[in-house]
Amino acid sequence: MAGSGEAIPRIYLDNAATTPLDPQVRAAMLAALDACAGNASAMHAPGRRARERIEAARADVAALIRAPADSIVFTSGATESDNLAILGGARGNRARGRHLVSLRTEHRAVLDACQALEREGFAVTLLVPGPDGLLDPAALAAALTPKTTLVSVMLVNNETGVVQDIAALAAVCRARGVLVHVDAAQAAGRVPIDVGALDVDLISLSAHKVHGPVGVGALYVRRTPRPTLEPLQYGGGQEGGLRSGSLAAHQIAGMGEAFRLATADGERESARLQGLAERLWTLLEGLGGVHLNGHRTRRAPHIVNVSFEGVDGEALLLELEGLIVASGAACSAESGEPSYVLRALGRPDALAQASLRFSLGRFSTAADVEAAATRVRAGLTRLRGLAPP
């Protein structure tokens, strides 16, 4: 039964969109907000405190990906990080070549940055992954040309949760001297990230996907060899000249604390989410006529993306009001676009739009999962009953 959002208790299973702020993160932000009333680049005591807080956060962010602290550049979010990596990396290496390779299933920030580069005269190859969402390293190798300067592939897909084999993909690039950028916004805190093992040049991170605040992110930039990046903005020369602008200590402190918590708790929490996700999928699979999107096992533990036969996606979403999930239906995004990711995986439009992405987070419980499955069962039953046979 579709009810009003006010009456039915809400269940938040949209942690891939954004995660609730952790109370400890909130406390860290407040402490920084109250202590650091100064400008981090100015020469006085509050400025010094802000700078110290920022450097501590830098170390905390770096630790999650096992990187040195001075390889972390703070940004306003993964969107900016993606752009700094892709626009900055492509423009900064323009003289070496003007060809980029990425995937059709990347985040909009990556795809739109690539498109902007095409308007600047770059050529962009967008590979299509297999139906399971995985990119074959051989397919990547075949796409590289002597003019290729940068490859961008995400670690965890934000719609399906599919985990790419970045190390294998990066090895292909490394052999050809091609920069590798990895959007790890969905990966941080959900799957282990080790820059040493991945051997990539640039990694985008976001705070608000890890129970940190919206509006702050980071770009990992390899120290040696250091990729040449053209900044997106200038003035002040902060962050090694790569990202000018006053640093927001409270935002950065929040990101630092969020990453610290994620590092401390990573393995246990991943296992817990994995358990919840498996339970959810088992319950949904039992409803019949449902398809799991993306690879069955090579997936992050927090995302379960399911297509439902025999119902309209938008109707399903309205039917489930109060269950906060993402939908493949056109109405679900401001952009008004059906899921281009599911379509790239070969799902027919009708099935792609009748898809729901359930995504779990630190505050998701077994009860949430049971309740969500119960509501989906009821909604699906009603809508399927309404449809012609």
């Binding site: 309209d312 401001e334 439009d349 009708a350 009748a354 309404l386």
Partner: protein, 126 residues
């Protein structure tokens, strides 16, 4: 655009209650269906007539909330109409339901199914 803003109260109510939804068969009943594969929208009408007048109308629908609501309004409007002049003003329904332009195309599926069903009344066996 949020769910709350995307649907009027009437759309929400009609979608929730789906009055006169369902199937029916028997003496005087005909049924016909139309499909739009891209969005997967499907509508099946079940109409009953007596003396050249539609006396009952049911629908089965797989479609978005606006489509369900439009089918419900159409079903109510059909009752009492003469078969030969059972025209439903879907433009008016779209306006009443504040359906965005992208949605209005789907109402053709309702209309197509309706036309197909009405043709069955005209068939020689009737």
């Amino acid at each position: 655009m949020s769910a709350g803003e995307a649907y009027s109260e009437e759309v929400r109510r009609l979608f929730r209650e789906a009055p006169a939804a369902g199937r029916a068969a028997g003496a005087g009943w005909v049924a016909a269906e139309a499909t739009e594969p891209l969005t997967g929208t499907r509508v099946r009408w079940h109409l009953r007539s007596e003396g050249g007048v539609i006396t009952d109308a049911r629908y089965q629908v797989r479609g978005c909330p606006h489509t369900v609501a439009a089918a419900a309004l159409a079903a109510a409007a059909l009752k009492g109409l003469p078969i030969g002049a059972a025209a439903i003003d879907f433009a008016a329904i779209a306006q009443r339901l504040r359906a965005p332009a992208a949605k209005r195309g789907r109402f053709f599926v309702i209309q197509d199914a309706l036309h197909a069903a009405l043709l069955l009344f005209d068939a020689p066996s009737a």
